[in-house]
Structure formats: C-alpha cells, structure tokens
Amino acid sequence: MVEKSRAVRKAKEICKNSIRDMRTIFPAFFVATLISVMLDFFIPEELVYAVLGENPVLSIVLATVLGIILPIPRYATYPIALSLLQKGATIGTIFALISGEVIIGSPDRDVMEFSYFGWKSFVLRGTLCTIFVIIGSLIVEAIL
C-alpha cells in the first residue's frame, strides 16, 4: 500500500514536472521551427553551401562560434540545424553548431559557474571545450 502510494506520488511528480517543462520548451521549439521554415524560404542553398559547406574546416569553426554566441534555447537548435543540413551545410558543421550551442549555456548557469569556480576556470573550460568540439566535428566530418 505504501509502495503503491509512493509510486503514484512519483508518477504525479513526473507528470507535473514534464508539463512545466513543456510550457517552456514548446514555444521555443515552435519559434525555432518557424525560423527553420523562414530559412527554407529566404536563404538560398548556394549561400548556405558557400558559408557552411564549401570549406569544412572554416565552416566548422564558424558554426562552433555561432553556436556559442547565438542565443538559441536548448533543444531549439535541432529544427534550424536540420534546415541548414538540407540546404547544403555539412554534417560536421551541424555537429559543431549543436555542440557549440551548449558550451556557453543560459545566463543563470554561466553566472553560477563563474561565481562558484572563478573566471579563470570558466574561461579555461570554455576554451578547451571549444577546441575539442572543433576537433570532434572534424572527426565527424571525416567519418559520416
């Protein structure tokens, strides 16, 4: 009986937390989907290929930097990345964009990391992470 009520309580908690997350993720995901459709309509394939496909090394570095600086919410990168892939971006570039997006996260997370472990730690981790993401993206480019 106790076990059952505990399971019910857990299930309720999972549902409650999931619905709370959906309220924030769904709007962001819809906006990202809308942006991806706009990319389909307005950005010519030649341009995407020239910037994010022609030179894999430069494309990967650019995508990593874009992923870091663009304020794309978590999970909202995927529709945009898929649209870019279909327009001619390379798979390594997509990998770099998705991985680069999380190097610098939300402002609250970054401020916490910054204040808890210091700016040197934050900068060193960010720099190392960027270098490894670029190397990893080049490996993906070669394998896939």
Partner: protein, 150 residues
C-alpha cells in the same frame, strides 16, 4: 506567403510534438532513477577520477544549474576542479532528452558518434584542465577536508 510559412511551421511542429513529449517524460522518468543524491554519491567516489565524472555527466538528466551548488560543496570537500570541469562538459553536451530529438532529426549514427565524441571531449577537457590549470593559478588538485584542516 506568411500564411504558407506559418502552416508549414505548425505542421512541422505538430510532427515533432510526440517525440518532444516522449523526450520530456523520459528525461523526468530517468531523473527519478538518477537523483541528485545519487549523482552526489557517485561524484564523492570520483575525487580524482575524470573518467568516472565524464560518464556520470553523460547520463545525468536535466539542466546543469541544479548541480552547480552540489559541485561547489563537493569541491570544498576535496573534489578536484578538473573533475568538476569534466562533469560540467559531459553533462551539458549530452542528455537523455537530447537522445530522442537527435535520433529523430539526424539518425542513430549521428547520435552515437556525438555521445562518443562528447565523452572524449569531457575526458580531454578534464585532462588538459588538470595539466594547464596550475599554470594559470587554479588549484586543480583534489584535497580532502582532513588535509585542508591540517
């Protein structure tokens, strides 16, 4: 044209809703099995273990922010900064929720490769952090509370 764009966006969004719902529920289901307490007990055992911290980070669900105060406390109790860096890196690069979305959008090989490379990235960040941290004035060594008291 605006109506056409909106229509396509709504249709694509609706197509993604089921996978989003499954991903969100699964992430919360996993988080009940991998609770903050369990992560804490794992991290306590990995004072100097970058490999262990990278692995734990890979399977830890949800955003990083709730784990940062825990990492700060564990750091004060002796967890090495390079282990903290490895955990933060792998936790942010991959997550259970991302698995569903990535497989849906880019396929299994892409996701599998991203998990492997993210794990290696976390290992590399931890190792290089350990190697370079001391040179820029970071105390990367793990010191237990007893050692600190002495």
């Amino acid at each position: 044209m605006i109506m056409e764009m909106l229509y396509i966006a709504v249709m694509r969004f609706l197509y993604s809703v089921p996978i989003l719902v499954v991903a969100i529920f699964s992430a919360h289901l996993i988080s009940t099995f991998i609770s903050r307490e369990r992560v804490e007990s794992f991290l306590r055992k990995t004072e100097r273990n970058i490999l262990g911290a990278s692995l734990i980070g890979l399977v830890t669900p949800g955003p990083l922010a709730p784990y940062l105060p825990l990492l700060r406390v564990l750091k004060k109790r002796g967890l090495s900064l390079s282990v903290v860096a490895a955990f933060i890196t792998s936790q942010t690069l991959v997550g259970p929720m991302r698995a569903f979305l990535e497989v849906d959008f880019f396929g299994v090989p892409f996701f599998a490769l991203r998990v492997v490379i993210s794990f290696l990235t976390a290992l590399g960040v931890g190792a290089f952090y350990h190697a370079f941290g001391n040179h820029i004035g970071l105390d990367v060594s793990a010191t237990s509370k007893e050692e600190e008291d002495k």
